[in-house]
């Protein structure tokens, strides 16, 4: 094989190259997570990990499985479309263990005003009041029941 005479240095170099490639491939196989590339250039398992995070808001469907009485009051009122946790806050813990986790009492003076305080920036059709002029400091629930806020006959005026 006169062609490869004096070519020993090339084979040694090629051998080194192959060895380096094998080492690279071994390290890569060890370092790159198994699920990398499952869906794209990222770790596929990350999707499942993010999906497994815990929930804080139980969702109105969960509330309605027990609180059907409130649902009956709400359904014909102006607040029918307002989800429970919009006012009551995140209550997944309560839904998990209704006996030991009690939802905090709400302050209508803060909650009602949050949505219904007058400002020129709100959509024109949205019911707005200036708290001082409207109620002269009376708590909102004196006249309005938050679950169905229309004035009831006989309510204090």
């Amino acid at each position: 094989m006169s062609v490869f005479k004096d070519a020993g240095h090339l084979f040694r170099f090629a051998g080194l190259f192959v060895l380096a490639f094998i080492v690279f491939w071994a390290i890569r196989g060890y370092v790159v997570p198994k699920s990398f590339g499952q869906y794209g250039h990222y770790r596929g398992n990350a999707i499942g990990e993010i999906a497994a995070r815990s929930v804080h808001f139980a969702g109105h469907d969960t509330c309605e499985t027990c609180h059907t009485d409130v649902l009956d009051v709400k359904k014909n009122g102006k607040h029918a479309h307002v989800n429970c946790e919009a006012c009551h806050g995140a209550l997944a813990k309560h839904a998990d263990d209704p006996a030991s986790v009690t939802p905090p009492k709400l302050d209508t003076a803060v909650l009602c005003v949050r949505c219904h305080a007058t400002t020129a920036a709100k959509p024109k059709g949205f019911p707005q009041v200036s708290a001082e002029e409207h109620s002269t400091g009376l708590p909102c629930e004196t006249c309005h029941q938050p679950h169905s806020p229309a004035m009831v006959a006989g309510g204090a005026k």
Partner: protein
């Protein structure tokens, strides 16, 4: 205790109903969820937003967002008569505690809730050097925080300013479209807490989703369409002055 056959037959369905309501307590992660069957987006109706800040607070609670950082926030635009092209935009603490009272002055006011636009061709995912942020097969833009280096390339790449470096974790954090909720059949925390229905989670692959009827009957726009990001947060009634 002796139970007759008749009593047993009455008790069994009652027990089944009771057990069903126990199971309904908190939705479990659904093993039946198939990523290929969904393509998530959101619909924001500006004509319904009252700037109460419920969404911002709900997001912070649901996702443990640190104070002063926002996965979603609300901006108030004021376009005055004298200066129609330069609206005044405010967002005090992301609109978390509402907004100062606005006085009628002939101009127009409106609120614009913002969040990650869950772009289909997202600039942020393209610049990540390590594959730590990506668009899932069901259309959510997520961050793998165990993989993120915190280099903040994506923070700069996002045209909507929706990403931040988490002050404690030192890695990127952003809106996940409540991926841990929508995969369990729930809506996002912001949509759950929105009292007026200004925010609606939508699944573009679900033919029964009301978004299809809405898109057909309304003039809906995305933010910065000239960026060709494939943004999937659709705004109804969006004013041209919104940046």
């Amino acid at each position: 205790m002796n139970i007759s056959r008749r009593q047993m037959l009455i008790l069994l369905p009652a027990a089944a109903v009771a057990w069903k309501s126990v199971l309904a307590g908190t939705p479990e992660s659904s093993p039946n969820y198939k990523m290929s069957e969904h393509w998530w987006s959101m619909l924001i109706d500006i004509s319904k937003c009252i700037g109460c800040g419920n969404c911002v607070r709900a997001c912070q609670t649901e996702n443990d967002v640190p104070d002063g950082y926002f996965r979603t926030w609300v901006e108030r635009y004021h376009v005055s008569d004298e200066n129609m092209t330069n609206p005044e935009v405010i967002s005090p603490d992301g609109g978390k505690e509402g907004f100062p009272e606005a006085k009628e002055d002939g101009g127009k006011y409106f609120y614009v809730p913002k969040l990650c636009n869950q772009c289909a061709d997202s600039p942020c995912t393209q610049v990540c050097p390590v594959g730590a942020t990506f668009v899932t097969p069901d259309g959510a833009v997520l961050v793998d925080q165990t993989y993120c280096l915190g280099c903040a390339y994506c923070v700069q790449a996002c045209p909507y300013g929706c990403r931040y470096i988490h002050p404690q974790k030192k890695v990127v954090d952003k809106c996940t479209l409540c991926y841990h909720r929508i995969t369990k059949g729930l809506t996002t925390a912001c949509c759950e807490a929105c009292p007026t229905g200004a925010r609606q989670l939508a699944d573009l692959k679900n033919p029964n989703d009301p978004i299809h009827a809405f898109l057909k009957t309304h003039s809906v726009q995305v933010l910065k369409p000239q960026m060709a990001t494939g943004a999937k947060v659709f705004y109804n009634d969006l004013d041209g002055s919104v940046r």
